[in-house]
């Protein structure tokens, strides 16, 4: 009975407060089952705008921000807590223009897909921050008026790193503001975005369209594996989940197929 109540309440929140539901799950990471990437992709598929982390956030976890364009009128913003810190032994640390490591790449994800430009490139500064910060990249804001501590990308040995000289000469007029750093695939994209043309050639159906397939049809689908159930069930079957840019799907693998593929 108590489990049923939990499920009901969770489903209710997911239905009526999707942005908050996503933010709460992001805050509950690491979870056993759903990765932040899966959670954010699912929220986006349901119309929730999910913004990139920003270093000026007053809180480390994912907060909610008002946005009339998002489902329910609020967005979830990823919190800086999810950003990996650079390793102490990293040789890049001494270079002011070095690209710090972004979130740990998932299996099969190129590091460029996890663009680091997010924390520096917000369209508008967070509440309580001077607009100067957004225009020049100089960290002037903060509750006490003191310059904020440099983020993980800056080195103590090179104070000039905080101003990112290579960005100063950018034009200011355009909106959204141009981001610094190398071009990367946007974090709103799934690795399978780049695969879609290849998957189409192979005859794969996007996961989001599988519900429209008549029951019992032989189909092909493909994407990144998000989890595998181990050990197998008592009957020997294994469950897999995979994910593409349109959704997730579950796969049952029989004993025979599993041993055939493994050998």
């Amino acid at each position: 009975m108590s489990f049923a109540l939990l499920v009901y309440a969770s489903a209710w929140f997911k239905r009526y407060y999707q942005a908050a539901f996503c933010a709460v799950l992001l805050r509950a990471q690491p979870m056993e089952f759903y990765s932040p990437q899966s959670l954010v992709a699912d929220a986006r598929r349901h119309g929730v705008v999910t913004r990139k982390p920003h270093l000026n956030l007053p809180v480390p976890h994912a907060p909610l921000e008002p946005d009339p364009g998002s489902e329910g009128g609020v967005t979830s913003r990823l919190g800086p807590a999810g950003i990996a810190r650079p390793a102490k032994t990293s040789p890049r640390k001494s270079s002011p223009n070095a690209t710090p490591p972004g979130p740990a790449p998932r299996s099969g994800t190129s590091p460029s897909a996890c663009s680091w430009t997010g924390p520096w490139s917000k369209r508008s500064p967070p509440p309580g921050c001077s607009p100067t910060w957004a225009r020049t990249g100089e960290p002037r804001c903060g509750p006490t008026g003191r310059p904020r501590r440099p983020g993980p990308s800056t080195s103590r040995a090179s104070p000039s790193a905080t101003t990112r000289p290579h960005c100063r000469e950018r034009p200011r007029s355009s909106s959204p503001r141009p981001t610094c750093g190398p071009p990367a695939s946007p974090p709103t994209a799934s690795p399978s975005n780049s695969l879609r043309a290849h998957l189409d050639r192979l005859g794969a159906i996007p996961a989001g369209q599988l519900l429209d397939v008549p029951d019992g049809t032989r189909i092909k689908a493909g994407g990144a594996v998000t989890r595998k159930q181990r050990p197998a069930t008592a009957g020997g079957s294994t469950f897999l989940h995979f994910e593409d840019e349109t959704g997730m799907a579950n796969v049952i693998v029989s004993v025979g197929l599993l041993t055939g593929v493994d050998s």
Binding site: S194, R218, K220, G223
Partner: protein, 43 residues
């Protein structure tokens, strides 16, 4: 199978009550790293 991080699966789709389950009969590994475009290195 254990080493795949992306695959193409062929199988029977069991569709009902708003859920889909694929009963697999064939797997083809996909090499995401080889298929995804390389990032540009300014160095």
């Amino acid at each position: 199978m254990r080493n795949y991080n992306a695959f193409l699966v062929r199988g029977i789709a069991q569709v009902g009550q708003g859920t889909v389950l694929i009963v697999a009969d064939q797997f083809t590994p996909l090499d995401l790293k080889a298929l995804v475009t390389k990032s540009r290195d300014f160095r």
